[in-house]
Symmetry: C2
Subunit: 367 residues, 2 copies
């Protein structure tokens, strides 16, 4: 028998982080569950898809009894979101969970063997560092969209973390483009690892829900544990080697153009109207003080756009997948964007005018 | 050669109504087009899917040349929405359409035989009436969601219009529920017809885009023409007989409950959490001053909700598809909703407390 009186908003917040780690179509039904467990006088909620593990300590004003139960995560999440009373009373007895809130009463089946819920431990020999929550959030946001969602190379279906010389660097690439962001931190070892996209999204979710200004991170060479106050997310790293991204970074440029971000994005949006009905290519032609953007569709026709630029170096004509330009340029926070060209077949570098801690590399396509 | 200088917002508005009538996956590519045609010193835009025809007169400050051209509707709509200059210049010459606006220039292919664009005429012998635009909008909104989208009975895949004794009545039903709304108007004949769901949606779209306070409607027994200033939509009626809806309307009730709309909808939402994982049924139990809502799922469990009611007549226990209750009760504008019961197997009537010009009938399901 276990009876808990919990604040609705507190439970909703914790479930929201925990439910993210639940397997969506797993073979094992226990991985669809949240485990509620009373231990050391506090209540913890566990969830896992066997790659990511989430543990949340819950503030429970009233606990009667002891023990544990496992209940379908999505169902509980939906109930907790929709009841209209501030307090929720969970009453577990004999395999059944009763959930009461206001005039609502749910009697819910639970998993028959909660003691089989998988657990994980971090080894004690690891590396430890801290990072501001808002900074890590921004770093992830700047790179995650470049990770592949379907590459045959598993290393690309995630984000590469490199800690070196007191810098944290995140790199993501799908083989056609690459995003890189770096930030000074304090760490006593040089290490690197890959986190899967799913782990990265769980991390984003943790950051979104937490009020903690600083995250504490532990790495034991197999797993990364990110702690935000009473919630800890433990992620297995992807056992793959990330390609040597430094080889892709251009060393010298033939020309460089600077332009207004919004003007470019507006013009690009219009070229995409034709591009998506045709070859899915946009041609950039940098001539003196003008950038011409154009696209063709054999069936529908063509479009030509012009925006003013400042140019250094030679004229250039080069073709790109317009979606890659759109997604990268959108992430530049400053008003002015810089394109750095090597030649029409080599990767182009995109950065803000005040070359910051982040940049994008995009491979051209053939004309 | 035909050259037109048009205000962007005016063109966007007219295209938005016209493009709705374009066939989505038609065999004939000309039905994917908008026809632009200069006639009697004005420019008209035509579109059709052979069931609905739209004609819009366009305010064009500058016209040079004459003639007509047909251009892909979706492509033009997207271009006109996205250019950033107030003025758009259309320049048609030798089968090619150039669209210029600001620094954007599109060269677009047109349909090779614009003279083959289908046209339709209304017969002169028809019935004519007027209705306030906002009133018709509300009437359509109150019934359209009850129309079937997939009935084998074609008559149900639309909305029934009945003009009788100076009333306009709209009725929609999918065989499991029925919506009825009526409004006093002035009309000199008793007529009835069915408009397809697609025609009804085109009509909704016309109403949304027009500023005209009153619509003029003409009916020639085969087609309905709705005129809103410079836009006319002509719709072929569905050549089917609508079932006799009056036979479904209950005549006498055994009991009647009155309750707060939002309380009911909130409780119903929570029973649906279980219902959708189970039998997709909600049981209503009206007992004295309480309505109990409950649902079961063999796999997940059950839920019981309670809301206060005022009841006249006998207690009743009756089962419904919760989605049908949800959609109907949402449309009641007043705070208090009335359910009128005949018995647990007969259709229930839903209306507002001040029985208004609209009501819903929902068939129960078996326990």
């Amino acid at each position: 028998m276990l009876k808990l009186a919990i604040q609705r908003s507190e439970l909703e917040k914790k479930i929201s982080v925990a439910a993210q780690a639940v397997g969506s179509k797993t073979v094992d039904p226990i991985l669809q569950c949240l485990l509620f467990k009373v231990e050391d006088n506090s209540l913890n909620i566990y969830s896992t898809d066997m790659q990511t593990f989430v543990v949340s300590k819950l503030n429970v004003p009233e606990v009667e009894g002891s023990g544990q139960f496992a209940v379908d995560a999505k169902l509980l999440e939906e109930i907790v979101k929709n009841v209209d009373n501030d307090q929720i009373i969970l009453n577990y007895d004999n395999g059944k969970l009763n959930i009461k809130s206001g005039k609502s009463s749910f009697n819910i089946a639970t998993y028959s063997e909660p003691e089989k819920f998988p657990s994980i431990e971090l080894e004690n020999t690891g590396i430890k560092f801290e990072i501001e929550t808002s900074i890590l959030q921004e770093m992830i946001d700047r790179v995650i969209f470049c990770a592949s969602t379907e590459s045959a190379m598993r290393a690309l279906n995630g984000v590469y973390w490199e800690l070196k010389d007191n810098y944290l660097r995140l790199v993501a690439s799908d083989g056609y483009r690459l995003a890189l962001v770096e930030q000074k931190i304090t760490v006593n070892s040089d290490i690197d690892f890959i986190l899967s996209l799913k782990s990265m999204k769980e991390l984003e979710n943790l950051i979104k829900e937490t009020d903690e200004p600083v995250l504490t991170i532990n790495f034991d060479h197999k797993k990364l544990a990110v702690n935000a106050g009473d919630v800890t997310v433990i992620m297995r790293v992807v056992e793959e080697v990330f390609p040597d991204y430094k080889r892709v970074l251009p060393k010298a440029f033939k020309s460089r153009i600077v332009f207004n971000k919004d003007q470019f994005l507006e013009s690009l949006k219009r070229t995409m109207i034709i591009a998506k009905r045709g070859t899915d290519k946009v041609q950039l032609k940098a001539l003196d003080d003008t950038l011409e953007l154009s696209s063709q569709s054999p069936e529908y026709g063509e479009v030509i756009e012009e925006i003013p630029i400042e140019k250094e170096g030679e004229d250039i004509t080069i073709n790109f997948n317009p979606r890659f330009l759109n997604e990268a340029v959108k992430k530049i926070e400053e008003e002015e964007v810089v394109f750095n060209f090597v030649d029409e077949l080599s990767p182009m570098q995109i950065n803000s005018k005040n070359v910051g801690e982040y940049l994008y590399i995009v491979l051209p396509v053939r004309a």
